[in-house]
């Protein structure tokens, strides 16, 4: 296991880049020769019609899928494959398209679970739930409470997440990802299935996370309005190939992008 991190990356510098990455499942090419980068401190949107390979792209960055070709450079270190554990210790966190919360646990426990990597008290103290183990729980509870305040989910701390409405579940999932204090936050359709109000709330949270916590964000999103408002730069994928890369305005006017979406604007 590599030591977490690498050299500190200054704002504006490239935090993560994928180069010529290709991924196939059996005969199906999910991603073909895609290259783009994500700069520290920015909000990068990945958009494209269904089946474009967006989630696969996130999964590659995360280490869940291993690409057959290409390189991933994260914080200055290039590698052919990213391992999930490397990604997590390196500071990459994510949310999932179909909310991947731990259904048997409460909202609080889910977010506390996000702190696992930062908890080191050894097994002996865990057995006694005393001393260093208890101190750690309290200390991390403090950080988690900050996140709970930030996301305004105080009332539902002790509710088993399976019982929460969809919008709140997505918020808890965001909280869990934020609990990892990630340098790079991957959001897979964070607004899916939300009404206008919920979307506004979520957009606010995303922007605040970027501002307040300084988190670099890569998000997949279908709602064009959200993408245009939130993101600094946009990558457009279609059928696994990159067809555009630039600021929201540039991408909006790109003919290939318009064709891919058949001119449908939200």
């Amino acid at each position: 296991m590599r030591a977490p991190g690498g050299p500190e990356v200054a704002a504006g510098e490239v935090l993560l880049s994928v180069e010529n990455v290709s991924l196939s499942f059996g005969g199906v090419k999910a991603v073909s020769d895609v290259s783009f980068d994500i700069r520290k401190g920015e909000i990068r949107a990945i958009i494209g019609p269904n089946g474009a390979g967006k989630t696969s792209m996130l999964n590659i960055i995360n280490g869940f899928y291993q690409p057959q070709q290409g390189r991933i450079t994260f914080k200055g270190e290039a590698r052919a494959k990213m391992r999930p554990h490397e990604a997590a210790t390196g500071g990459i966190a994510r949310t999932f398209q179909n909310v991947a919360l731990f259904r048997g646990m409460t909202a609080l426990d889910n977010i506390m679970a996000g702190r696992t990597l930062k908890m080191h008290s050894n097994f002996f103290w865990q057995l006694l739930r005393h001393g260093p183990a208890m101190q750690e729980e309290v200390e991390h509870r403090r950080s988690v409470e900050e996140i709970i305040d930030f996301l305004k989910i105080q009332e539902i701390r002790r509710v088993p997440v399976g019982r929460l409405p969809y919008g709140l579940q997505k918020r808890v999932e965001l909280g869990r990802a934020l609990a990892m204090e990630p340098e790079l936050l991957l959001l897979d359709e964070p607004m899916a299935g939300m009404n206008l109000e919920e979307k506004e709330d979520m957009s606010r949270f995303v922007l605040d996370a970027n501002d307040y916590f300084g988190t670099t964000i890569a998000l997949i999103e279908h709602d064009m309005g959200v993408v245009m408002d939130l993101s600094d730069r946009v990558v457009v994928l279609d059928h696994g190939i990159k067809i555009a890369d630039g600021t929201p305005d540039e991408v909006k006017r790109n003919q290939a992008v318009i064709d891919a979406y058949l001119g449908v604007a939200h």
Binding site: L101, M105, A113, E136, V138
Partner: protein
């Protein structure tokens, strides 16, 4: 009215983290412990202690062990019987080779042997899950059972293949062997079970418990969060087998007084599994409730019908037990998959607002 949290505020995170934050719960636990430690030994007859309380505690311990693995971590295991056996035989060998060391030390030590074996047979969980893993645990069950029979060294080359518990003492009191009293044995088992339950509770309420439950609920998300799956699963196997091993050693040394390999067969594995299914997967309380129900059921069947004038043969009792357990399993899985423990929680919820319906 009685069971209210109103007025009980927590002023620190530490107190909020307490396992029993509600005062009434703490009182309840204190009462239970008082009954267990004081009232039962004083008032209970030998039968109650010997045939009901001691085995109930031992099965609860084994149920906790399996629950840690299957209920909390989501790894279905059918090898519980064999892991209990490892503990029993390890304890037997240790105490016959080193008779002067305190037997309780060896009971705990045998848990470590069990833990090691459990971890080894847990290695396949790196690659396989769900009922495929369950089948791998069957390999453990049958192979270890075979070892108990075919390795004469384990039972000191005794011709009958069985082991007999030698007499051992603690501070001058005889605690194992035919001359140990039921009271003495009960106390030893009670202290160990209470202690180990407390430790299990500490584990599941902290970081490790969260890791286990994360692996159970969504192992992919857990992995992507940085939780390393194999060490977490192996820890679950090890701790679970430790508990089962100690339970096995207690079973032979403090209850049966002796044993043979067939005690730790696949039927034993299923019995413990049914205890946690009915009691509640992922609940320590459920382990106790399930053990109580499954263990007490045949006892009730053996004594109640004759008392009501309906004598039943021993074989029939067994048959009815099997049928009832089978039906209960299906019933609980349909109606309340979270078992008796959830029913208990729901009951408490209702108590919270009693006598008002909302």
């Amino acid at each position: 009215m009685l069971y209210r949290e109103a007025g009980q505020f927590k002023t620190s995170y530490a107190s909020d983290f307490a396992v029993f934050p509600i005062l009434q719960d703490r009182i309840g636990i204190a009462i239970i412990l008082a009954v267990a430690f004081i009232i039962i030994p004083l008032t209970g007859n030998d039968f109650l202690v010997n045939a009901v309380m001691i085995p109930f505690l031992i099965f609860s311990l084994a149920a906790i062990g399996l629950n840690l693995l299957t209920g909390y971590t989501g790894l279905l295991s059918l090898g519980t019987g064999a892991f209990m056996g490892v503990g029993a035989y390890a304890c037997y060998k240790l105490t016959t080779i080193f008779p002067n060391v305190n037997i309780i030390v060896w009971v705990i030590a045998s848990g470590f042997f069990s833990a090691a074996v459990g971890a080894i047979f847990g290695l396949p969980s790196l690659r396989i899950k769900g009922f495929y893993l369950a089948i791998a645990t069957l390999a453990a069950q049958f192979f270890l059972e075979w070892c108990f029979i075919r390795i004469p060294w384990l039972y000191n080359n005794n011709v009958s293949g069985a082991i007999e518990v030698p007499q051992r003492e603690l501070l001058g009191v005889i605690i194992t062997g035919p001359r140990a009293t039921a009271q003495t044995r009960y106390y030893i088992v009670l202290v160990l079970v209470v202690l180990m339950t407390w430790i299990a509770s500490n584990l599941v309420h902290g970081r490790i418990g969260r890791m286990w439950m994360a692996v159970r609920d969504m192992d992919i998300a857990a992995e992507l969060m940085g939780i390393r799956l194999l060490p977490t699963k192996l820890l679950a196997f090890a701790v679970s087998s430790f508990y089962c091993g100690v339970a096995g050693a207690l079973m032979v040394f403090f209850w049966y007084g002796g044993s043979e390999a067939s005690v730790f067969n696949i039927n034993q594995s299923f019995t413990i599994l049914f205890m946690i299914i009915i009691g509640g997967l992922g609940s320590l309380l459920g382990s106790f409730l399930g053990a109580a129900l499954i263990y007490i059921l045949p006892i009730v069947l053996r004594f109640v019908p004759p008392a009501l004038g309906l004598p039943l043969q021993a074989a029939t009792v067994e048959h009815i037990t099997f049928m009832t357990v089978g039906i209960l399993i299906v019933l609980f899985l349909i109606v309340e998959p979270a078992g008796l423990a959830r029913l208990w929680l729901i009951g408490k919820q209702k108590l919270r607002v009693w006598p008002f319906p909302y």
